[in-house]
C-alpha cells in the first residue's frame, strides 16, 4: 500500500506534456431530492500550457459550473458525480482534482489555479480593504511579512494598471467602480503567479473600453508570466481576440473544441455554425434605418438541465437532424487536425 502511494502518480503518464488541464467526461449535478439538474453532463476539454482556451456557450450551458467544478467550489447541492479533472502541477505530477482531498485542494487554489469570478461587484468582501484581501492571499501561500506582502499587493495593483495603487490599497470595495473592482479581482488572482487562470466572463459586466483594456492586459500578462488561461465568455468577438483554442458548450456538454482559426474557418458542429451566424455582421445586417443590427438567433430553446433529451441534446433545434440523432448521443470525435466535434454529421459541414 505504502509503495503504491509513494510511487509517481499513475496519472502522470496519461496526460501529454504540453497539457495543463484536461477534463474528461465531467458530470456535475445539482441534486435536490429525487431531481438532478444535470448542469454539466459530459464535459471534455483540454487547456495547453501557456495557451488560452476560450469556453463559449449560451447562458445556462454550464460554463460557470464547469469552472467551479475545476476549483471544487460548487455551491451546495452541486456535486461532481463522474469524470476526471486531470491537472499537471508545477512540479510535473498529475492529480485528479475531481477526487483530490480537500486539504490538498487548498494548496492548489490560489497558488496553482486562480479564478476570477463572473460577478465583480460582489466577489470582494465589503468589510476588508482591497489591500488586506490581496495580502491575505499572498500570505496564505508565501512566507512573507506584512510589509513585503503589502509591497507585492501594490505591485499587483500597478500591474493591472490601477492608478494611485498605494492609496487604493487602503480603500474598500464600495469606494471603487465595477471596472476597478474587476481589476482588483484580476490582481488578486494573479498575486501568487498561478499556473492556470480561470476567468469567468471577466469583462461581461464592464463597458466596452474597459473591456478592451482588460483583455489587452490579460494577453500581455499571459505573455509575460506564461500562464495558461481558461477564458469563459459568450462573446465570440472576445474569443477571436484572445483565444488559441475554443471549446463550445451546449446544454452541459462540450460539442466542439478546435484551434480558433479552424473553428471560425470551418465549424464542425451545427450549433457552432448557428452561433457564428449570430455574430453581428455590420455589412450584411445593416437594417434600413442604418442603426439597428439584425441578429440571426438560432430558433428554439436550450433544453432544461432538469430534463435533457436522450440523444443529441441539440437535435431539437438542429437543421441537420436525422432520426438517428434523437436515439443515441454522439461522442466527441476527431473532425480535422486538433478538431473535435460531437456530431454524427460533422462531415456535412
Amino acid at each position: 500500500m505504502a509503495a503504491v502511494l509513494s510511487a509517481p502518480s499513475p496519472l502522470t503518464a496519461t496526460l501529454p506534456e504540453d497539457v495543463v488541464l484536461r477534463a474528461e467526461d465531467l458530470h456535475t449535478h445539482f441534486i435536490v431530492g429525487e431531481r438532478a439538474a444535470k448542469s454539466v453532463d459530459g464535459v471534455t476539454l483540454t487547456v495547453r500550457r501557456g495557451e488560452t482556451l476560450a469556453v463559449v456557450g449560451e447562458s445556462g450551458s454550464g460554463k460557470s459550473v464547469t469552472s467551479l467544478s475545476i476549483m471544487r467550489l460548487l455551491a451546495h447541492p452541486g456535486r461532481i458525480v463522474a469524470g476526471k479533472i486531470l491537472y499537471r502541477m508545477r512540479d510535473g505530477t498529475v492529480v485528479d482534482l475531481a477526487t483530490l482531498p480537500e486539504k490538498r485542494m487548498r494548496a492548489i487554489r490560489g497558488k496553482e489555479i486562480a479564478m476570477i469570478f463572473q460577478e465583480p461587484m460582489t466577489s470582494l468582501n465589503p468589510l476588508y480593504t482591497v489591500g488586506d484581501q490581496i495580502m491575505e492571499m499572498i500570505r496564505l501561500h508565501e512566507p512573507l511579512s506584512r510589509h513585503e506582502a503589502r509591497r507585492r499587493a501594490r505591485q499587483m495593483l500597478e500591474l493591472v494598471e490601477i492608478p494611485a495603487a498605494e492609496k487604493r490599497l487602503d480603500q474598500y470595495p464600495h469606494e471603487m467602480s465595477g471596472g476597478m473592482r474587476q481589476r482588483v479581482m484580476i490582481a488578486l488572482a494573479l498575486s501568487c503567479n498561478p499556473a492556470l487562470l480561470i476567468a469567468d466572463e471577466p469583462t461581461t459586466a464592464l463597458d466596452v473600453t474597459i473591456q478592451a483594456q482588460i483583455l489587452d492586459l490579460m494577453r500581455r500578462l499571459q505573455r509575460d508570466i506564461g500562464m495558461s488561461i481558461l477564458f469563459i465568455t459568450h462573446n465570440l468577438g472576445v474569443v477571436a481576440e484572445i483565444a488559441h483554442e475554443v471549446a463550445v458548450m451546449y446544454a452541459g456538454r462540450v460539442v466542439e473544441q478546435a484551434p480558433v482559426e479552424a473553428l471560425f474557418a470551418r465549424p464542425r458542429h451545427p450549433y457552432t455554425k448557428g452561433l457564428l451566424a449570430c455574430i453581428p455582421n455590420p455589412e450584411r445586417d445593416r437594417a434600413a434605418d442604418g442603426a439597428r443590427l439584425m441578429l440571426n438567433p438560432i430558433p428554439g430553446n436550450v433544453p432544461s438541465v432538469l430534463n435533457l433529451p436522450p440523444g443529441c441534446t441539440y437535435a431539437p433545434r438542429c437543421p441537420l437532424v436525422e432520426p438517428h440523432c434523437e436515439g443515441e448521443a454522439p461522442g466527441l470525435v476527431p473532425a480535422g487536425p486538433g478538431h473535435l466535434s460531437r456530431c454524427f454529421r460533422h462531415e456535412l459541414l
Binding site: M71, L73, A75, H76, R106, A107, I108, R109, G110, K111, A114, M115, F117, E119, T122, S123, L124, N125, P126, L127, T129, E136, M137, L140, H141, Y172, H174, M185, L188
Partner: protein
Amino acid sequence: MTRYILQRLLGMLAVMFTVVTIVFIIVRIAPGDPAAVMLGPDATPADIAALRARLGLDQPLVVQYLFFLGQLIKGDLGQSIFLDMPVTRALAERAEPTFFLTLFSILIASAIALPVGILSAYKRGTLFDQAVTTFAMFAASIPSFWLGLVLIQVFAVRLGWFPVAGYGGPDASFLTRLSHLVLPAVALGVVSSALITRFTRASMLDVLNDDYVRTARSKGMGEFRVVMRHAFKNALIPVLTVIGLTAALLVSGAVVTETVFSLPGVGNLVVSAVLRRDYPVIQGALLVIAAIYVLINFGIDMLYILIDPRVRY
C-alpha cells in the same frame, strides 16, 4: 459618518421622548385615585389630599406632565412612597445584581448561541442542524422562572453545589455573590440563547452563499478562516442587533428570575413596588429600563461604524 451618528442620535432622542410620554400616561391611567389606593381604606380624606398635593396630583394633567419632564431633566425620578428614599437611590442600590445577572446571562447565551448557530448554518440540513433548530424552539418555550426552579431543585437542593436563593447578605464577598448568580444566569442564558441561535443561523445562511465567501475559498484558505473571518463578520451586524435586543429583554427576564432566586435587584424592586402600588418606583424603573434598551440600541448602531466601512461615509 457624522450624519449617520446625528441621525441615530436624533432617532434615539425621539424614541426616548415617546417612551417618557408613554410611561407618564401608563402611570396616570390607573382608575381611581392613586393616593387613595396607596394609603389604603383607613386613610382620612385629609391624608389623601395631603398625599395628592405631595405627588402633584391636584394639578391639571398638562402641568403634571411638564413638571414630570422638568424633574426628569434634573435627573429626579421622585420619591418612593414606601422606601422613604428617592427612586434613583432605590434603583442604584439594587443595580448590582441586576447588572451582573444580565451581563452573565448574555455571555452565557452568546457562548451557546454563536458557535451553535454558526455551525448549524454551516451544516444546514444535517441532523445536527435539525437538532439545533428543534432545541432552539424548545428553549424558547421554557418559562425562565420554571427553569430557575428546576435548577434550584437539582443543583441547589439535591446536589448542594450552589446556594438556593438570596445574594449572600450585606457583607458577602464578591465571590459569594457571584456564586448566587450562577443558577439564575444559567436559567436566563439558556432561555435567551434560543433567539440568538436562530438569528445567528439565519444571518449566516444569508452570507454563506455570498460571492465573497466563494472568493475567500478560491484563495485556498481553510474553512474555519473562511467561515469566521469572511462569512461571520458579515453576519455580525444583524446578530449584534439581536444580542442587544436580548440584553434588553433580559432585564425583564430578570424581573421574574430575581423573584425566583430572591435576588435583591431592580426586578425584585419592581415587583414589590407593584404589589405595594408604589407608583413613583414603577415609573422610575420603567423609564430606566426602557432608557437602557434605547441606549443599547444606540450603542449597537455605533458599533456598526467599527464593523462596516460602508456606514462610515
